[in-house]
Each structure stands twice: as C-alpha cells, then as structure tokens.
C-alpha cells in the first residue's frame, strides 16, 4: 500500500485519535470559532468597535494569512500611555492611532498541547494563539477554558444533584419497611435474599424500578405527582444519561444537557414541594 509521509488519522471504527481523548487545546477551541482579524492600517476606533461588537478582548492583526500580532484593550491602553508620554506637550489624539501602533507580540501554542501548560501565559496575555504565525488555527482565551471545563464538569454535577435528591424523595415517600417491601416486589434481578435494603446500596436503575413499578406507584405518586409512565420515562432518561456520562460512553449533546437541566429543575420542584409539605409550609 502506497502511503504518503503525512497520512491523515486512520478512520477505523472510532475516528478519534488516542491522544484526542486527553484534554488538549484542541478540545478547548470552540468548534464554531470564526477568526476575525484586522489589518495593521485599521484605525483603532474601528478595531475597538469590532472588539465591542463581538465581545472579544483581542483580535489578531493579519495580512493575508500572516499574523503580525495581537490588538487588545491592553495593547491599546499601553500604546496610549506610551505615545502620550512621547508626545510630551504636543497634541495627542488616541482616535488618530492605527492598529499597527498598538500591537502585542502573541504566544503560540499547538492544538496538541495540554491546556494547563498555558494557564500562566493566558493569565498574563488573556489569550494564546493556536497554530503558527503563518497558519493560525484558533485563539484560546480564559473564558474558552472556563466554558470547556464547565461543559465537562456540569453533567456530573447535575447528575449528582438528581441522584441525591431522588434518594431523598424516596426517603420522604416510604419508610424503611415499605422500601424493603417495594424493593422485594420489583427488584427481581437480584438473587433471593440479596436484594439491597437501603438506598445507598442500590443502583440508580433500582430507584427507577422501585418508583416506576405500577405496584409501588401509590406510595410515590403523592410526591412525584402526574402520571406513572411519564415519571418513569423521565427517570429512565436520567439513568441512561447518567450511565453514558459516568461510563464515558459518548459525549453528551446540547439536547442531552438540556434534558438533564430540565430533569434537575423538575427534581428541585418536587423537593421544594415535598419539603414545604413536611414543614407545613405552602408553595
């Protein structure tokens, strides 16, 4: 088989490279990032308008595909101070400046770099450019890293809230004896005598089976309200997403995230209502 020296990554059943599984800058770069640049001869007012319009803190200064530097609020303010000092008693108008008067030298990272190695650089300059001076692939800012880490962590946080509140609601619905009876009614996948008797030793799927079983529903309906099948489907969705997230089966989608968030809100509503009832308060 005749192959070139620079073969693309192999397709195979899984298109991700092994290194792609690690948290590299490539993961942090937003998928839909569109690089907007300015020319060195752009008036600063125009460049500042672009920053404001897009909510950016910096812009690459480019001629064709060559990066000359970074224009930012920081580089602008530094240039203003410097040029106003140089001007001494002469009239100095920052609005007459051009982007080329306020260029910072950027730092370049590679997509395969671990992003934690760039924390100090980003702290200092607000951003690092990814790629090379004549092949810019993207810009990573502190907000990109924050958003990425939030996206990675938040499903775990949501699932923890859902699971712990579900346990609490089961406790509010049934006492220990009833819980054992409910478990014995429907948890048939355990060998006889080994059905767990406390929630801490049950799986999320066990909770779903217990609450969603038609024979147990009367115990849980006062807390969960509504219809059994709809309640059970919601809990099954939470279970499936939990398993996908905790076992790293796939990356969750925006819709999955919204489903989790909505489930978490629903659980919070049930918990608030249940607490208000137990304390005699009104919702």
């Amino acid at each position: 088989m005749n192959q070139n020296a620079h073969d693309p990554p192999r397709g195979g059943k899984d298109s991700h490279s092994v290194t792609g599984l690690f948290h590299r800058l490539n993961s942090v770069l937003p998928i839909d990032q569109e690089i907007i640049s300015v020319l060195p001869e752009t008036p600063v007012q125009e460049a500042l308008d672009i920053l404001g319009k897009h909510g950016f803190s910096q812009l690459p200064v480019m001629v064709n595909s060559q990066v000359l530097g970074l224009f930012s609020y920081r580089s602008f303010s530094q240039a203003v101070i410097k040029l106003s000092c140089d001007a001494k008693n002469q009239k100095f108008n920052p609005r007459e400046m051009f982007v080329e008067d306020c260029i910072d030298r950027p730092t370049y990272a590679r997509v395969s770099d671990e992003f934690r190695a760039w924390f100090d650089a980003i702290d200092k300059q607000d951003a690092v450019l990814v790629g090379d001076p004549n092949r810019l692939q993207g810009i990573v800012t502190a907000m990109d890293i924050l958003r990425y880490l939030y996206a990675v962590a938040s499903p775990f946080v949501l699932i923890a809230e859902i699971e712990l509140s579900l346990r609490a609601l089961i406790h509010l619905s049934v006492d220990q004896d009833k819980l054992v009876a409910c478990a014995n009614t429907c948890l048939k996948h355990y060998a006889e005598g080994s059905v767990p008797t406390d929630l801490e030793h049950m799986s999320f799927n066990d909770y779903v089976q217990i609450i969603g079983d038609g024979r147990n529903w009367d115990h849980f309906q006062p807390i969960f309200k509504g219809d059994r099948v709809r309640t059970r489907t919601k809990l099954e969705q939470a279970r499936d997403l939990r398993n996908d997230v905790f076992h790293f089966r796939r990356e969750i989608t925006t819709e999955d995230y919204e489903t989790l968030s909505a489930l978490r809100d629903w659980m919070l509503l049930k918990a608030t209502a249940a607490e208000a009832r137990t304390t005699g308060g009104k919702i």
Partner: protein, 501 residues
C-alpha cells in the same frame, strides 16, 4: 475486468441490477464527468455510490470526498470503510481537521494525502475548509441529498469546487423527483453556470428492472388510520397553552417557528410536549437570570419571514432566540401548563397505540411480528418504550444518542428476534434498511414530505415481497388542527407514491 465481469462481481456482492448497471455505466471510460442520480428512498443510491467509490480506489483513485448531511456522515464513513481497505477513510470534524493541519508542514494542503474524506456539508461550506478543499484535485466527489446544495452557502461550496476544476468526477444523489430540482439545475441568467460540462441525470423514479430483466414489483402498501379521541383534560391543557402563548407579546421574529415547534411536540406525545416545556422553562429561567445580571447580549431582531427564509436556517439558534418581550410572563404560562399536566391522568393516544400494537401481535399467527414505530423525537420513542415494556415481546430502541454502529447492531438483533423497534427519523435514516418489517406505526407525522418518504424508504425497499401495512393515529377531537393537514398529506403521499411529492 470487462463490464460483464464487473456486473457479475457487483451482483455477487448483493447489489441489485439497477444499482450495478448505474455503477458500471458511471465507471465507463466515456461516461459524463458530472452526474446526478435521483431516485426514491429505498432504491439504494448509497450502495451504488459506495460500489463506485470502492471500484475507483481499486483502479488507483487517491482522493475521494463525500459531502453528506451531518447525521449521515457516520453511515458514509462506515460503509466506505467496509467497502475497501486500500486508503483510509476519515470522518473530518473541526478538531480532526485541526489535528491533520497541525501535523503538516506549513504550506502543505491537509487534503493532499491519499484518503476518502467524509465531511458534513455544513462544515465543508465554512470558508477555510471550502477554500482548502478546492485547491486539490478529487478523483470523485459525492454529494448526498443534493437538494441541500440549493442553499446559498452550500451552493457556493459546489460552485467553488467545480469552478476551480478540482473535481474529476461528481456524483450527486437526490431523493427528490426531478421537477423539484429544476430551479437548482437550471441556473437563472444572473447566476453563474454551475457545471463546466453538462450534468447527466439518471432517474430511478419509475420502473426498475431485476437481474432477469423483469420489472421490479412494488409491494402492496396499505394505509390504516387508527382512531382515538384525546381526553377532555388533555384537550383543555393543550388549548389553554396555545391560546396563552399566541397572546404573548413578541419581540423580533421566531414566535411562529416556536409555536410550530411546540405544536409538533404536542402532536407527537404528551411526554415530548411536557419535556419541551420543562426545557423551555429552564431556558427562560436562565435568560431571566442573565438579564437580571445585565449580562444578556441583545440579539439582532429578525422578522418571522427573515427567520424562516434564511437558506442556512438553524433551528437550534432560532430556539435560543426566545421571541417573547416579557419572558417572566412566558415562564408563568409554561409553569401553569406544567402544573396542569400533573393533573392529567390519561393519555388517549398512548392507550390507542398500545391497543394497536396488541392487536397486531394477536393477529400475527405466523410467528413473531416485525413492527417498527416511528417518531420524530427521542423523547417520544423513550416514552413509548417505557409504556409497552410489558407486552411480552422483544423491544428495541434506536435514537440519535446511539452511534451508527450500535444502531446497526440493534437493527440486526431486531431482524433476528422480531418484536417492536422504536426509532426516530434521525436514527433510522439513510444507510439502514429493514425490509423485513411488516407493520409500521407512525406515532407522529413529520411536516416535511421528504422525511416521510425517507421513513417509507426504510421498509418499502424495491424488491421486497411481503405486504406492508402503515398505521397513523388519528385524533377525532381535532385538538391540534395541523394534524389533519399532516394526515391528508400522508394519505396523498402514499396514494401517489413518490411522484406525489
């Protein structure tokens, strides 16, 4: 290998006569460089294209580009990988593209290496990718669902490729009958000519022939409407919501889109509707919190017409736009409706569905029936899965959450064991065929006739012999007026076949 030997080899690989004949004629030395293959779903355009790609690779082709809609990219990658092993098949996403680019010396095109590159049309149309793709020569470019190239940016991608002479052979595939492609194929005087040489069109609409020369029979497809009537509480809750939302003051465009989206969800199932409201409630709460923190960025206001008319319309972006001036009022309506939901103890559509499935199972005396249940939404598929798990028959579910490979495995198990398979439009789409299915239940109906045709194409494969019965659930309460129109569209479509589109 001469043409006859090539045809025999394709036949031995399971291709049907019309697929093999097209592949063989496409590969003839004097065949047109640019071709369009139009045929109804179920005729196997993808299989013919894969055979062409594999044969071209065996003849020394180095670079092939497959431009597919994003949900179908994985299927294309799998099929192309299975069909040949000579050059790698790469599913290009943005991160994969960055990796490829970073590994190369500066100035070298990421597309210069041998390979079959599968790219979603929406990624490929982006400026940097489109520019790079047009700088190398492609032995073959396949464009799936060709009608999508009528959208401005995707058309620009195709124009860029053809005008740069980057394409040696072009194969466009379309489910759409030819007249509807006319405006796209025949450029207006103010538009550039799309193809440097004439585009040869092959149509599989109409009679197709088998290997023995006989005409392919279309199996009998029966349509049955299964009637039910939504409960009083259900009707009250639905109408209360829609009346309240219509009265809300809007800001910018998108309100009409939003109401249509929610109507489709409500039409699908009570569960899908409830989940949409839960998600909408979450989004509204976030928007209100952001506005209170003065962090919400004002979005450009678009009219409804602008929102819909955009050729590259993004439903997710439209959904996020939240077109109501008073978001707190919108949230109050959502909360009221969710509260009302809790008091609804019936779901007459679901009950009717359970009776229908039960009756199909009971009527099947030959063995285990093969039933496929379609929905537009994963929420509805999950709901139905939970609702019928006590039927005592094997149950399978495929949604967009599962990979193409997992979906294939699930479908293979279903074909082996029989029972009920629940699927969404996105998951049971091109690349998956289940001609063994005898009963199809459309739990909801899509408003897009092309989607309906694609559903039908999964089962109503050319060459199948068993009869097929399709069911729609028809609400006699007419609580959602648009459902009647969808039912009529469905019946008309089935009566006239694909020509009726």
């Amino acid at each position: 290998m001469n043409k006859q030997e090539f045809l025999a080899s394709l036949q031995s690989r399971g291709l049907r006569a019309w697929q093999a004949n097209f592949a063989a004629s496409f590969l003839e030395a004097d065949s047109a460089a640019f071709q369009l293959l139009a045929g109804p779903p179920g005729t196997g355009k993808m299989y013919a294209s894969i055979a062409i790609a594999a044969e071209l690779v065996s003849r020394g082709a180095k670079r092939i580009l497959a431009l597919a809609p994003a949900p179908l990219c994985e299927a294309w990658r799998e099929r192309l990988t299975d069909a040949q092993s000579k050059i790698p098949v790469v599913l290009v996403t943005r991160p994969v593209f960055r990796e490829i680019e970073a590994a190369l010396p500066i100035g070298r095109s990421p597309w210069s290496a041998d390979g079959i590159y599968v790219i979603s049309q929406d990624l490929a149309k982006q400026n940097d990718l489109a520019a790079g793709i047009a700088t190398v020569e492609w032995d073959l470019v396949i464009g799936d669902e060709a009608h999508r190239f009528a959208a401005q940016q995707r058309a620009a991608l195709l124009d860029r490729l053809t005008s740069a002479s980057a394409v040696r052979r072009l194969l466009l595939l379309s489910d759409t009958p030819l007249p509807s492609l006319d405006p796209w194929l025949h450029s207006s005087p103010d538009q550039p000519v799309r193809f440097s040489s004439s585009l040869v069109v092959t149509s599989w609409f109409g009679a197709l022939t088998n290997w023995d020369g006989s005409t392919v029979d279309r199996p009998e497809v029966k349509l049955e409407a299964y009637l039910y009537k939504r409960g009083t509480d259900e009707v009250k809750c639905l109408s209360q919501f829609f009346v309240s939302f219509k009265d809300l003051q809007t800001c910018g465009g998108g309100a009409e889109f939003f109401l249509q989206l929610l109507t489709q969800r409500a039409s699908s199932s009570l569960f899908a509707f409830e989940q949409s409201l839960q998600r909408l409630g979450h989004t509204l709460r976030s928007a209100i919190a952001e506005a209170e923190a003065s962090l919400a960025e004002p979005t450009a206001e678009l009219s409804d017409q602008q929102v819909w008319a955009s050729a590259d319309f993004d439903p997710m972006a439209a959904y996020k736009r939240l077109p109501w001036a008073d978001k707190a009022a919108a949230l109050a309506i959502v909360n009221q409706c969710l509260e009302a939901f809790e008091s609804i103890s019936t779901d007459e559509k679901l009950s009717a569905f359970k009776r229908l499935v039960r009756s199909i199972i009971d009527a099947d005396t030959d063995g285990i029936p093969m039933i496929c249940v379609f929905s537009m939404y994963a929420d509805t598929a999950s709901y139905l899965h939970t609702a019928i798990d006590d039927l005592g028959i094997s149950l399978f579910k495929v949604t967009g959450a599962t990979s193409f490979t997992e979906r294939q495995v699930t479908v293979e198990r279903f074909v082996k064991e029989g029972g009920v398979i629940l699927g969404t439009d996105g998951a049971l789409s091109e690349g998956i065929a289940i001609p063994q299915v005898t009963h199809v239940v459309h739990y909801d109906l899509p408003s897009n006739p092309v989607v309906l045709e694609q559903r039908r194409g999964r089962f109503d494969r050319f060459g199948r012999s068993k009869p097929l019965t399709m069911y729609v659930l028809r609400d006699e309460s007419k609580a959602i007026p648009s459902e009647s129109r969808l039912n009529e569209l469905f019946a008309a479509n089935l009566d006239s076949g694909t020509d009726g589109l």
